[in-house]
Symmetry: C2
Subunit: 697 residues, 2 copies
């Protein structure tokens, strides 16, 4: 679907145009007329002309081609107007009007109708209930958002119109420019997916900001994002994390991988920079505005004040991926020559409080030549002699040789400097942490893993099929019914995927001697199999370290007794006999997310799982390299690799289990959750000790 007419149409009709300044139809007209010259056709029956242009009673009355129609009328009239558009072979429509899905069932019905008309007639439809679009490069404001954004190279897709206007307005103050702005509204037809696809190859767009409340298609989103982020950073703010409390928890993996964790994992996996606040979102926009699209990690701090420089150094030290460049003696010597004796020629370079702009320049001349450094953070505080304006001009000059990130801290005294920075195409970070956080976010996103590959039969991966405008908001509770899979069936299924679960399931006590032969050397364990029992240990349904048939038989009776006492409703379907595995406990699990399909979880097991929730998460499928990274990501990795000379467990065997489980999960959409818990890892083995799977009923 060609979306060009949403951004650079030659002719536009505004249905619902008005001379009343309180009406959206006025704002739309005024904004359109405030841009590049285009043919604008107001459509209204109540006025003869709008803002000096001849008004038409209907779209039908307009002669010649119309590239784009904006509709800002009462919701119930919209379908008939859309039919008129179809009759006139109009390719592109934005429904600004509200009163659809957001108003309840009747509105949703109306929205479906509108979507159907658009689909049948091949109309590219944005909205309803949206602000519209803006293209700063083609000088089009086809929205009712006030103001004209600065021309820039950042595209901004928003599922909230209000957040859109707030950010656009704030950006005007701070000198952040945009290429395109898209307010998605209810997404009756076009969604974030189509616009990501469009912006991927948009020459004006070098980076993308997204505000997202829900996704239409998790896998398509990941596929596109993975492709885009190879060339253009995507910064995403996701709202509505609160849903996590609502989910039913049927497994350890389920409780350890709430929907918002899955979402964040999916974004990371696709190379997206996720942020949790508008502040971080906006600071990232500033960084992108400065043309910083790739990680700059090795920094120089140049300052006229010690205190703020020390704090900045602390923040860099505390960051995940940033560091200060260590200067060579030659650099220090060069700085010493041009700076006063009290200046500090290490990094931070402190040119002290009485620095005029000329002293900034003396230092900058040397610092921009420092090959080790990726960027210079230029701190300025208002001291007696400070020259904010001249210094700002200077930074803009030297920014051509090496990226400079201005942090002017102050109020009225530095105002001229801030204005000058903006005039020169730079932006200022209010506080050092604003810049450091943004740089660190950018750098961390690039510690990136194998690109995401959509599994062959992606459509059926979620617990609910997420498609169309009725897709649930991600993270909502699912209404899918599930039951536990029989252990012997699970064991055979595992075998198909090369997963060994060494246990023998028997139904009766008399089968014990045979089972012991199959299970291998003592000591053994005995566990009850019962769909009603989740935590076996708690109710005495497990016996460990058994060394003889007699032990086993006694254990059998004890378990039966314990279950009868502690969980009288539970039916024992049999018992599992296992040879006792030794090693360190880990958990490997699978959970099917409603939007992203199967996700794999890895974590330290036992008390670590429950007390520390030290886990990592990926959307399946997972290749071996990503599996290795999942393992290495957990905080307590040292517990597996060995402390103080202790030997490491076999991480590769664990990675293989992850890959196999991922394959199984992709191929079996009926399985909703799997816990391999624990898997015992030793220096030469990784053994699945216990496993459970929940399947769709």
């Amino acid at each position: 679907m060609n979306l060009n007419n949403l951004f650079n149409p030659n002719s536009i009709a505004v249905v619902g145009a008005s001379n009343d300044k309180n009406k959206v139809g006025y704002a739309l007209m005024a904004n359109l007329l405030n841009g590049a010259k285009r043919d604008i056709y107001p459509v209204t029956i109540s006025e003869k002309e709008v803002l000096g242009l001849k008004a038409y009673a209907s779209i039908k009355d307009i002669e010649g081609q119309i590239d784009l129609v904006l509709i800002a009328v009462r919701a119930d009239i919209v379908p008939s107007i859309l039919e008129e558009c179809a009759a006139k072979k109009i390719s592109t429509v934005i429904i600004i009007a509200a009163g659809f899905k957001e108003m309840g069932p009747a509105g949703a019905e109306l929205e479906r109708k509108v979507a159907d008309i658009a689909k049948k007639n091949g109309i590219a439809l944005l909205g309803p209930n949206c602000l519209g679009t803006i293209d700063a490069q083609s000088d089009l404001n086809a929205s009712f958002a006030a103001g004209k954004p600065k021309k820039g190279h950042i595209a901004f897709i928003s599922q909230s119109g209000a957040l859109g206007t707030a950010i656009l307005d704030k950006a005007l103050s701070e000198g952040v420019g945009f290429s395109k702005f898209i307010s998605l509204g209810n997404e009756a037809a076009l969604s974030e997916i189509e616009f990501m696809e469009y912006l991927k190859d948009d020459a004006d767009t070098k980076a993308i900001l997204m505000y997202v409340e829900q996704l239409r298609d998790g896998h398509e989103f990941m596929r596109l994002a993975s492709e885009i982020t190879k060339r253009k950073p995507i910064v995403l703010i996701k709202a509505g994390k609160g849903a996590r409390g609502q989910e039913a928890v049927m497994s350890h993996t389920g409780s350890l991988a709430p929907a918002d964790a899955v979402f964040t994992a999916a974004c990371r996996q696709s190379g997206i920079i996720t942020v949790d606040s508008i502040r971080e979102f906006f600071n990232m926009a500033k960084l992108l505005e400065l043309g910083i699209l790739k990680p700059l990690q090795k920094l120089i701090v140049l300052t006229n004040a010690g205190g703020p420089a020390v704090i900045t150094t602390d923040l860099i030290d505390a960051s995940k991926s940033l560091s200060l460049v260590e200067f060579k003696e030659s650099t220090k010597g060069a700085l010493r020559k041009v700076l006063p004796p009290m200046a500090a020629v290490g990094n931070p370079v402190d040119i002290i409080g009485d620095a005029l702009s000329a002293r900034y320049e003396s230092a900058l001349k040397i610092l921009v030549e420092e090959k080790e450094a990726d960027a210079i953070i230029a701190l300025l505080t208002p001291q007696m002699m400070t020259e904010p304006e001249a210094t700002a001009k200077l930074l803009a000059d030297y920014n051509k040789k090496k990226p400079i990130i201005p942090v002017f801290i102050g109020g009225p005294t530095i105002e001229t400097g801030l204005v000058e920075l903006k005039n020169d195409g730079l932006v200022n970070f209010t506080f050092p942490k604003d810049a450091i956080e943004a740089l660190d976010d950018l750098a961390n996103s690039k510690k990136r893993i194998d690109p995401f590959v959509t599994p062959a039969h992606a459509g059926v991966q979620g617990t609910t099929i997420a498609a169309g405008s009725n897709a649930p908001a991600y993270g909502g509770p699912t209404s899918v019914k599930e039951k536990m899979m029989e252990p012997d069936k699970l064991q055979s299924l595992f075998k198909e995927y090369g997963l060994e679960w060494p246990c023998v399931m028997i139904k009766e006590k008399k089968e014990l001697p045979e089972a012991l032969k199959k299970a291998g050397e003592d000591p053994w364990t005995l566990k009850a199999v019962s769909p009603g029992i989740i935590h076996k240990t708690d109710i005495g349904a497990v016996r460990l370290n058994l060394k003889s048939l007699a032990d086993m038989e006694m254990a059998w009776d004890e378990i039966v007794e314990n279950v009868k006492k502690n969980k009288p409703d539970a039916v024992i379907e049999g018992m599992l006999v296992q040879n006792m595995a030794i090693g360190k406990e880990v958990i490997i699990g699978m959970k099917r997310d409603p939007i992203f399909g199967p996700t794999i979880l890895f974590g330290l097991g036992g008390i670590f799982t429950e007390a520390l929730k030290d886990t990592s998460l990926r959307v399946a499928p997972i290749e071996i390299q990503a599996a290795r990274e999942m393992i290495s990501e957990i905080r307590g990795i040292k517990i597996l690799t060995g402390l103080r000379g202790e030997s490491s467990v076999d991480l590769e065997k664990l990675a293989e289990i992850i890959v196999k489980l991922s394959k199984l999960a992709v191929a079996h959409p009926e399985i909703l959750e799997i816990d391999l818990n624990p898997v015992m890892a030793s220096s030469d083995s990784a053994t699945i000790v216990d496993a459970r799977a929940m399947i769709r009923v």
Copy 2:
């Protein structure tokens, strides 16, 4: 020492006054004349009058009383001028001039001279190398910082002049007011301590901001802070955390309790709110400006935009101490009556995009009556109909009934609203996270523990005595030499404080039978005692689970062999025989901090200590309640209290060990570090298994 003349003097002499606008002596004069009417005496030999006032060649020439002298001349002249002040019985002097300690040994010598003169003559001396003081209430600017702060109730003590001016300037833009500002400079005489003491009872000051690079006296600081924070919040930003890498690590406790962690623990213990960035510091100042001095945790969010409200909700959910109030049906009903049908009457209250100020008012009328709620966060985004100015006015009105925290997000379109907020004495938070972070910081600081009590003989607690201008910056490496204390001596010392370390130390193998009798039941452990061996297990110097004398004898030989092989230089002084304790491993340690003296560390032992560094920290002395809190603070507390029905270890016994160790540490300043590692905790016991102490040589 009376500091009143630093803030409200009747007469002031400026030595080094000048008509040259590039000189500090000009800025001082101009700032003084720009305030309340006072007798100002310029002192200079190069001019006849300064800014229209008759100039004096020397202080001696001035007749009548001089309450305050500002000195802004070359450093080497300062001592003679100070002598003149002394001769004229002047009580209070600020040395603005730089060129002292910060310039190296010669400057330090000059600074000592100046300090001596002040001390001998009872002069209250601020500086040198400082900006001076400002009192917005008495309308005095005795500094060379530009501008006149807004009158307010926040005092600001800064060890960085530059940070001071930056914050004061920024505060002017954002409507944050101050009572007093003090630039401490080199602290030749007066330090943060005297000003904390002064501000404690200053009626104009309701809250204190501090920027700190080093402290003069850790315990006095804690004592004062504990007292002040009972009534006035202190917000502190500490710079220079980087020092942590430099410390020599002689014990587990040492490596787990770096100086900046001790500093943060000391602040928390004293009720101080610590922040790590200027941004957080400034946002806290905004909160204090709004008069919010105590935690407000139960919040209402009022908004004209859904997206930002959802993000704000997420941030509140993710905060440590904040929550949204749940409305009663009656509140929702009342809101429904006055709001349009599309509005959301839950919390957040979304009055939607077309809200005029009147609709804000309709909602506010109801919301300020909501008894459950501590405060209302009022979000405003620039939509088509938004009235920023009128809404701002309204917020100021309703702020009288319940604290309102404005978050207007935008740029030019909301500018009139920001101005109005300032005019009405409110301040705006740029983004929701700025407000949420500040509210959470304030609330978290009040989860506070027993007040800190200075131990009886505080002066000798640090490894270096921190006093006078040559005190090391906190966190710097100490040059103290230490050696390991003999285990039998340590054991006896422990006994004095009621600490049982059940082990028998023997020098020779033939003492084994006797030792086994004393040690109690098998199994036993055998460990080498050798000052040269830190990690005994690593080199085979420990044998566990020994069940007979023969086992023990064989183990003895093996250990001797292992040490010879793996650590040939180490001298085995004997062996420890112990009955094997069972339970969960914890570490309890003591480390003497150069500024705060003995600090006690508690953490999970074994792999948890090394892989996860899950510990808590307090400055001694520690009473039983604080000890309990230390234990409950660790992330992995569930591991001790028992997972899934497992019984808890005896936390009270652990708390008792902490209290006893704290007493021992306070009484024995020669002991620098102690590790009790591990202590084995079971459901009815806590046993010290291994202990080491480093003492001053």
